[in-house]
C-alpha cells in the first residue's frame, strides 16, 4: 500500500504510523454530555468500504494526515494534512 503524502508525494506504507479513526479530530466541547465522550472515546464504525482515519508520516515529514480509503479495494481516495481546517469536517 502507498499513501500519497501531500508534502512528500507517494510513499511506502512502512513510513507511516496508523493512529485510528478520524473521530479523534472531533473532540466534544467542554460540558458535553457523557454520551458524547463515550462516542468520542469508544464507539467506532468498522466499515467494509470507505473509511477515514489518521496516519502519521513518522519516517517522513512528520505531518499528521487524514486518509480516506476503501477497506475492500484498498484504494486510497484522498489524503489531506490534518492541520487544514476543513480536514475535520
Amino acid at each position: 500500500m502507498r499513501i500519497p503524502c501531500p508534502l512528500c508525494g507517494p510513499r511506502d506504507r512502512r513510513e507511516f504510523y496508523y493512529y485510528g479513526a478520524d473521530d479523534y479530530l472531533r473532540r466534544p466541547e467542554e460540558g458535553a454530555p457523557p454520551e458524547a465522550w463515550d462516542a468520542y472515546l469508544h464507539l467506532r464504525d468498522n466499515p467494509a468500504g470507505v473509511t477515514r482515519d489518521l496516519w502519521h508520516h513518522e519516517m517522513g515529514c512528520s505531518a499528521w494526515l487524514v486518509v480516506t480509503r476503501n477497506t475492500v479495494t484498498h484504494e486510497v481516495i484522498s489524503v489531506r494534512l490534518a492541520s487544514e481546517k476543513e480536514a475535520a469536517k
Partner: protein, 179 residues
Amino acid sequence: MAELIALSATEGLLPLTHGALTLAGAAPDRITSVQPFKGKEAAVTKALKAAHGLGFPAPGRALAKGDARILWTGRGQAFLLNADPAPLAGLAALTDQTDAWATLRLTGPAADQALARLVPVDLRPAAFGAGSAIRTGLNHMMAVIARVDDGFDIMVFRSMAATAIHELETVMKSLAARG
C-alpha cells in the same frame, strides 16, 4: 582550561571503498534547524535571501549558494548548513543541531542502486535530480537524503552512525561482489 579533542561521529569508521562506491564523512561545520513561526514564512525566505542568497525550500527541495545550503527536512522545517542563523532570530524557531547528526556521503556511479536496497523512494536521477532533499527511512533509521553532484548526502541521528555505516557497507560489498 582543558584542550578537548573534537571527534566526528564517523571518526575511525570512514572512509570506505568497495567496488566503484565510496562512503565518506561529510559533516557540515554547522547545522541549524529552522522552523518558521506561524505567518513568518515569507519573512524567513526574505531574510535567508538577504543574508545568504538562499530561501526557504519547498518540500523535497534544497538550495545552495557557495558553502551555505538549506535542506527541506519536514513539515515547516529546514536545516540550514554552514551558515549563520542569526538573521532569522525572531522569525523562526532556531535550534543548533550540529552535533546531533552524522552526515555520510555515498559517491559512485551506482550510488542510487545501492540506496535502492535500503530506501523505499526512487532516487534515480530522473526522479531525484539536483536540488532534491527528502526525509525518509534508511532501512529502519530516520534519515535526511540530499542529492549532491556525484552522489548523496545521508544524514542520520548521530547515535545511529555506526549502524548506518554497517548497513551501507553491507550493500556496497554485495554490489561489488556482483562485479
